[in-house]
Symmetry: C2
Subunit: 267 residues, 2 copies
């Protein structure tokens, strides 16, 4: 039997606070974020990221494993709160809530915390705007086996609910660092890591340049591409050949293609 | 000045019918589909796909080019209907409607209609479930320059509103065929086109096999992968190496990676 406090009132301060946590500022002030749904929370637990609190609503449950998940989270210290359907629908971020919402402590790594493989293989992204793209980029980085994803001049924060969702749990295991472009360029150079920028403005195809050895692939934002600072700082530029209409590849797709060309070339 | 009929009543039969067109059966019965928003409709016009009707609401317009778009569509035969905001919000599929919704005639190609390049380069997808994946796959196919996308045993129809949206207009130009697996296998074999199936259940890496010459890349569904029929019929199987968690690459991402490896290998 699961022990949980019960909440039915929409005026309950915890309910009100969960709604506030949709807002980046509130998340950062409190140092937490929200993971919603069975898959996201079970991925967190698998990766030993333990929620501080879980809010649940039995009426919304879709499967039969929710209780086991709640027990497991509780055994790792999560406080459980059972919400009325009305209250849960208020706090849920999704349209069709699954009756599970976790509050998890944020984390933050610095560049010096990163454990690099030999040779290093990094992905650097600059000012990505759409949370769905950032989540897909994290998945791609995970599948390609990069050491870490470095976010320069972040626009979308990593703990945005749509990044959490679209990363399908990769957020909980992929080392990520947010830092300024200047810091990152200095850090990369100090370590002798070669940088390859993907941009349409070059004659070099991404398949014709070496993506072997110590490497950081650098991707720009959806709307503006890479900043001049990055384009000038990069050791090499590479473009992806495109048939069809100009915007068929978005930044997440271009990142995936480039990462897997690097995987192909790397021993 | 744009001439348009005015609709304010939610009981108007046209308003009611637009709501019905969210349903696949109604779309197929009437042989039409819906494209919503400025980008989708302007892409249709660019590609000489002319709407039969456009419903608009000035209060929802985001930009300044909507009138030009309406004039252009009208000059190609579209009937225009101006809706009250209340009525438009009822018919809009999106959460934040842009005040433009077009009704467009469906089309349908058969295998024999396809114009193949020499050597042919095709993408075959089986029973894709998520409209967003199908739309992304169309974009990838467009960027890779395939001749056509062949959908076997379709689950999601091509004219689903989320396919229209996520294809970012590629739907209007990419030749697509829906057919049964048996028909497609016969057609492919008759033409001597080699088929390569992407599946985790093989030792061959996708980068180690030839993707040159007459080629069809074959991708399975999200949940079930490729059917036994396709796995047995394929000339070669190939897998994508994956670091990280098992589901980091979804079918749309795997399709993109495989298509661009083919692009790399093809002269």
């Amino acid at each position: 039997m699961i022990e949980a406090e019960t909440i039915t009132s929409l005026q309950n301060p915890r309910v009100k606070n969960l709604v506030k946590l949709r807002d980046r500022r509130a998340r950062n002030q409190q140092g937490v974020f929200i993971a919603e749904g069975y898959r996201a929370i079970s991925r967190a637990l698998e990766k030993e990221v333990y929620p501080q609190e879980i809010y649940f609503c039995r009426n919304c449950f879709l499967g039969e494993n929710e209780d086991a998940l709640l027990s497991q989270a509780a055994s790792h210290g999560a406080r459980l709160f059972e919400l009325s359907q009305h209250a849960f629908e208020k706090v849920a971020y999704r349209d069709r809530p699954e009756g599970l919402l976790a509050v998890i402590k944020q984390w933050s790594y610095g560049l010096t915390d990163l454990a690099l493989s030999d040779p290093p293989f990094l992905l650097i992204v600059e000012a990505i705007e759409k949370p769905g793209n950032l989540g897909t980029i994290l998945r791609s980085a995970d599948a390609a086996g990069v050491d870490a994803v470095i976010c320069c001049d972040s626009v979308t924060d990593l703990f945005n609910p749509n990044v959490v969702r679209s990363s399908t749990g990769v957020l909980f295991s992929m080392p990520t660092v947010s830092a300024s472009t200047d810091e990152v360029i200095k850090w990369i150079r100090d370590r002798g890591i070669r940088t390859v920028a993907t941009t349409p403005h070059t004659d070099f195809l991404y398949t014709d340049i070496s993506l072997d050895g110590p490497l950081a692939i650098v991707m720009g934002s959806e709307q503006f591409g890479l900043s001049d600072t990055w384009l000038e700082a990069c050791d090499q530029k590479a473009r992806i050949p495109m048939a069809g209409q100009a915007d068929s590849l978005n930044v997440a797709m271009a990142t995936l293609i480039t990462l897997f060309e690097a995987v192909r070339q790397r021993p």
